[in-house]
């Protein structure tokens, strides 16, 4: 059973059209949830860490939120340079592994 599920798999937005990406997880005890951005041919770039339900983090046009079962990455008024794959990862409080989702491929059209 997948511990982390991301949706949608792909998302196309017009520049300025706000939307949200979803990451749902099934680990029994969450130590942390991490959001990364990955550009083609590059390694994932860290964006946010969330540790407890109700927590929110913001950076420029991105805002990450966390509930007990899922996290959302909200993108406000996106620009073409926000186009990338966004990955979510969770770390259980009983181990050292990080479980990644398959990502959401975001394309922002000028």
């Amino acid at each position: 059973e997948d511990q982390v599920t991301q949706s949608p798999e792909a998302l196309r937005l017009q520049e300025g059209e706000s939307s949200s990406l979803n990451c749902s997880y099934t680990v029994s005890g969450l130590r942390g949830l991490f959001w990364y951005r990955q550009d083609p041919g590059k390694g994932p770039e860290f964006l946010f860490t969330l540790y407890s339900a109700g927590e929110e983090k913001e950076k420029e046009r991105l805002k990450a939120t966390l509930t007990k079962k899922e996290s959302f990455l909200h993108i406000t008024a996106p620009k073409p340079e926000d186009s990338a794959t966004y990955l979510c990862a969770v770390q259980e409080n009983t181990g050292n592994q990080f479980y990644f989702g398959t990502g959401t491929s975001l394309t922002v059209i000028p």
Partner: protein, 113 residues
Amino acid sequence: GAGVSQTPSNKVTEKGKYVELRCDPISGHTALYWYRQSLGQGPEFLIYFQGTGAADDSGLPNDRFFAVRPEGSVSTLKIQRTERGDSAVYLCASSLTPNQPQHFGDGTRLSIL
């Protein structure tokens, strides 16, 4: 400040050959992770080092895969008797401590012909 460095960036070899992939983490980072990423997938955990020791190698797919970190800094992932199914991007990440966010290198793209 230098980030995580991985070499080579690309490796093409024939089935059955031995390969070594190198990772140079951020200075001072005690935790080091290896992942494998196939096209359209997220990174898949392989092994985690804390210092010099492999604290968790449960993600290594079989005994053809082995990794070392002898001095607690640079790590090498070794693959024996390579198979076509080993073709993927191998990513290395490091973090200051195990619970901190990981910083990734750009990976080694391994192609087995």
